[in-house]
Amino acid sequence: MNFPDLKGRKVLIHDMCLRDGMHAKREQISLEQMVKVATALDAAGVPMLQVTHGAGLGGNSIQHGFAPHSNEAYISAVAAAVKRATLSVLLIPGLGTMRELDSAFQCGARSVHVATHCTEADTAQQHIAYGRKLGMDTSGFLMMAHLNSPEGIAAQGRLMESYGAQTVYVTDSAGYMLPGDVTARIAALRDALKPETEIGFHGHHNMGMGIANSIAAIAAGASRTDASVAGLGAGAGNTPLEVFVAVCERMGIETGCDLFALMDMAEDIIVPMMDHMVRVTREALTLGFAGVYSTFLLHAKRAEARYGVPARDILVELGRRKMIGGQEDMIEDTALTMARERGIAVSRAA
């Protein structure tokens, strides 16, 4: 069988270093680092970049960690630094609100991913509509997409389109999907949505499938790809952006990005920023293998350190209990319960 010829196809690349990458940095990216990364992305011709707390607008919390600066401060600093790129934000209803979207827009954000779990699109109606009312490029972002069938994803995508979403994303939050899973979901969406509605894919590299999945998405009709330079993101990171651009160049897919500038940026700016090497570690592979939300990784490692239950065991249990994005509180809860069951003495106060 021949792989489809994608020569001449255009794909809009959306960098995630300064949003999903916040997770890999325990939300601790400085304003100076944000400006430096955004400036380099802009110079390399990356057309879209996302800037917020890892959990998006409203993300500063005990549940998701506190960044050193407000979302407004980050967005304003980056908006002043970039010349060409469009700034986007993440908004998860139930955490972020329209007030915060309004404030992000005032600071210079012009695009928004409105994210829900892959079966709960109808919690995003007011936020998608509000993004459009502000004149923002508005995407619906269906997280943990492996937990819904292709038909289910198509139905949820149609809902988001009906609220005003101009793009619908298949989001592989757990890095669980294989190319066939991606193809089936994107193709179902392509059949269900209006021709003018775009489709995006957001991958995580937990099973090493970030690039292959993103290419499968394009072959099935996607025209937007989320990625991050050097993969800086939750779990084993996002689809590594510079690698993806190299593959696109070889295949004749047009990205408009400067490959060598991105290679230099990965090596000289992003890798030195990493607190740990973002790669397919034992725990990250467990996320992909068990279908667990990538952001849970560092929380589970913290719980292991405090309660003496291995992170891998906690992650597998979270998968078994069908926990989804946003339930970070259940990591400590699960670790406490497992420690009790295993007879590990836990002190109430740390």
């Binding site: 005990i62 549940q63 609100t97 989804i324 946003g326 339930q327 809860d333 740390a350």
Partner: protein
Amino acid sequence: MAKIRCALIGSGNIGTDLIYKLRRSDVLEPVWMVGIDPDSEGLKRAAAMGLKTTAAGVDGLLPHVATDHIQIAFDATSAYVHAENSRKLNALGVMMIDLTPAAIGPLCVPPVNLKQHTAKLEMNVNMISCAGQATIPIVHAVSRVQSVEYAEIVATLASKSIGPGTRANLDEFTYTTSDALVAVGGARRGKALAVINPAEPPMIMRNTIYCLTDDAPDVEKITESVLAMIGEVQTYVPGYKLVNGPVFDGKRVAVFMEVAGLGDYLPTYAGNLDIMTAAATRTAEMFAEEILAGTLKLPAPQEALA
């Protein structure tokens, strides 16, 4: 013993579950169910359970308020119509228990501030939100021991238990609950997070309560206060259960709770809906006891104009 006669407005899940709760009460009696759709399941069920029904909205109830001696009404419709419902019924001397996010009247969490509201006549009290009812008692249990700079709660709800109204207005839920963590819980700042989980079989409602205290938390006193408060909530919500905690990490206090419903009309996983109907019933009972004892007097009901 005489009972206070009640009307239920809104014939959905909440209204129907309230029938069960009120029928068990020693001081309340469900008499009327008000809906807007004559073909609705809720109205048919209410009629089958012996209630008088109208599909003409609150206006269909008004002519019967005096003759049927209705003194308390529960509104489980929506924030948009609550104000008008409340105005019409208050004018006839009927007290309103508001289960919508409208929050016209004072916010009420039974074990925290109900006594203060029953001490004087309130013609409209608001029940905040399910997450508020499930978490504010714990925030208060910490803040009555020592000052809380910030309270944050995470409510995880089974997808099947969340109706279209809440889904379409998630921001309202967030704002109402966040504000109540401060106004009733006693924290200086508050933030509420909601997660909707579609797992099958449906998961039981979970609530995590975080408090940041100003000074190092007193582990013994806070633990004792939290456990005592859980006991108080259990008197009207038996499925209110501590899963883990309180655990202390620096100035952070964390309590991990689960709320199972009674399974009256709503399945047990829908602890979020059950805690609202149970809290509303508990609130109405406290007022009803005062009214029956003669310590609280509602304005005399007037005949509705024909």
